[in-house]
């Protein structure tokens, strides 16, 4: 546990030694704002609610989270520092979780930086703060699930571009999996229970219910088990491919 935190701390500091962190946070905040006000027509709706704001999060994450995740392991392998890291007295799981935790906290920082919009909507009207709080938590959990997929893709290749595209593609499938676009593809050949599983693992469907103020325990469990699965897969991938 201690090692995990030491790894996470180093990683997180690493984000802020380059302008990358600030650029990322700035773009995230700018894009959430632009989507909310222009495409989401925040003012025209005349409602004191952040639903238009949150509804764009899955799409933004689809683009931005793989960008955060792509370097996590690819870069370690490309620069050879993976050999330094994994010959320290830590387990592979410590390293995987530590790096993931840092990236997740970083996403949390970006998400927290959107707080002025909460202030704005409170100033303009009387929103349901419970729903907004829940939506923030839901969004953070969803970011973690996206990130765990990206982490795994990053562990599979030393090429960051491939890691990015791979992560975006897999995240897209999970985002859209409740929709016919994806389901029809699987219906053609997959057994029906598998199609049901895929339909049930849609990030979009789960997140939409959260933004309407309904967060059930099973939604939390869903996102957490997504992370557990992909991080376990990451650990296996790191161990198997570290020397390649």
């Amino acid at each position: 546990m201690r090692n995990l935190w030491i790894i996470a701390k180093r990683e997180l500091k690493g984000y802020f030694t380059t302008p990358m962190a600030f650029i990322f946070v700035a773009i995230f905040v700018a894009m959430t704002g632009a989507f909310t006000f222009y495409i989401g027509r925040f003012f025209d709706r005349g409602q004191a609610s952040l639903e238009p704001f949150f509804s764009f999060h899955p799409w933004l994450y689809l683009l931005l989270v793989p960008a955060v995740a792509m370097r996590l392991w690819s870069e370690e392998r490309k620069s050879g520092t993976i050999e330094q890291l994994l010959t320290l007295p830590i387990t592979t799981a410590d390293a995987v979780l530590g790096k993931f935790l840092a990236a997740w906290l970083f996403c949390g920082i970006a998400l927290a930086a959107t707080f002025p919009i909460w202030i704005t909507v409170s100033y303009l009207g009387d929103p349901d703060h419970g729903v907004i709080g829940l939506s923030y938590i839901g969004s953070f959990l969803m970011a973690g699930a996206f990130l765990s997929i990206g982490t795994c893709m990053s562990a599979l290749t030393r090429n960051q571009i491939i890691a990015f595209i791979g992560a975006a593609a897999v995240c897209f499938i999970f985002t859209m999996s409740g929709l016919d676009l994806v389901l029809n593809f699987f219906r053609a050949w997959a057994p029906s229970f598998l199609v049901d599983v895929i339909a049930a693992s849609s990030f979009l469907v789960r997140f939409e219910s959260v933004t309407r103020g309904v967060m059930e325990l099973r939604d939390v469990v869903f996102f957490l088990s997504m992370m557990a699965f992909w991080l376990f897969a990451t650990t296996v991938a790191v161990d198997a491919k570290k020397a390649a």
Binding site: K13, G14, G80, T81, E83, Q84, T87, A243
Partner: protein, 318 residues
């Protein structure tokens, strides 16, 4: 001597490729073991298995009695390891990198600070301590790698080509650092600079095609050469024939051969019988027959020749 590192039939396969093929050896406290071998011989792979980075396909590697396959974290805590090229997080400063390593190694707060100070002084990193690692010269980067390896004062040190790419002064510095630590630790150093073996190693092994081809002190290795302890004489061509005739019958000389050198003089090589010391014999034969010579010296042979004779033919010479 206390055994610190023990490899037993250690092997590593990458698919059909056999990188390391049944290496067994032990290293004791106070020993500096040189790992020699051509590029791609399996030196780095062997070291990576001991360091817990790669898992062996078969066989075991033990450090201070702990098997790296069963207790990887324990073994890693007993080891200082510097990987080839000493990769470190380039976006960090030397200080923050060493602080990170210290924390992972279980040192924190004041103790970590004191120890980092100590190591930085020892390795002469004071001038660059607050610089980012990516702007450092190769020599400094290598020293950062060395600093992180000895930070926790480990009983076993594994250094993969610690002097590769350094200038002669830096090489000398790294070697003297190794010598200073040698008494208290077991150290494994890989290199393909053979003078280094004579300079710092108490023992050397030669690895080729993943196999252990030779194991001994540098003197042991030199003894395998036919020209080891041979006596060379340089004479003018007109006296060469009579000199060869006289030397062939001298006691302790097993064979005499001659070559013409680029400057026209003749070099005669007298090979000894077994371990016989023939320098004096050859000298007195020459004096007794008043044969003039311009040079007379004993050839120890060099490790380069041992290395070539053992590794060039691969398994044939094993």
């Amino acid at each position: 001597m206390e055994t610190m590192v023990e490899l037993d039939n250690l092997s590593k396969h990458f698919g059909p490729f056999v990188a390391v093929d049944g290496i067994s050896l032990t290293v004791g406290k106070g020993e500096v073991l040189g790992f020699l071998g051509p590029n791609g011989a399996g030196k780095s792979t062997t070291m990576r298995m001991v360091a817990g980075f790669l898992s062996p396909t078969s066989g075991t590697a033990k450090v201070c009695g702990h098997d790296v396959a069963n207790e990887p974290v324990k073994v890693k805590s007993l080891l200082g390891y510097m990987a080839e090229g000493s990769p470190s997080y380039e976006d960090m400063t030397v200080r923050s990198f060493l602080t990170f390593i210290a924390e992972v190694r279980g040192l924190s707060g004041h103790a970590a600070k004191v120890r980092i100070e100590e190591v930085v002084t020892k390795i002469k990193l004071e001038d660059v301590i607050d610089r980012s690692i990516d702007v450092l010269s190769k020599g400094y980067k290598r020293r950062v790698g060395l600093a992180q390896a000895i930070l926790h004062d480990p009983p076993v040190l594994i250094l993969d080509e610690p002097t590769d790419g350094l200038d002669p002064n830096q090489k000398h510095h790294v070697r003297s650092l190794i010598e200073d630590m040698a008494a208290e630790k077991a150290i494994i150093v890989s290199t393909h600079i053979l003078e280094e073996v004579e300079a710092v190693c108490t023992r050397a092994v030669i690895i080729g095609n993943g196999r252990l081809l030779a194991d001994g002190t540098s003197e042991d290795l030199l003894r395998t050469l036919p020209e080891h302890n041979a006596v060379h004489i340089v004479v003018t061509p007109d006296v060469a024939a009579s000199a060869v005739a006289k030397l062939q019958t001298a006691a302790g000389v097993s064979g005499v051969s001659q070559i013409t050198r680029a400057d026209g003089s003749t070099e005669i090589q007298c090979a000894p019988e077994g371990d016989a010391e023939i320098l004096d014999t050859v000298g007195s034969v020459l004096r007794d027959n008043t044969i003039a010579y311009s040079q007379l010296y004993k050839n120890r042979g060099d490790l380069d020749a041992v290395f070539r004779s053992i590794t060039a033919g691969g398994a044939n010479h094993a």
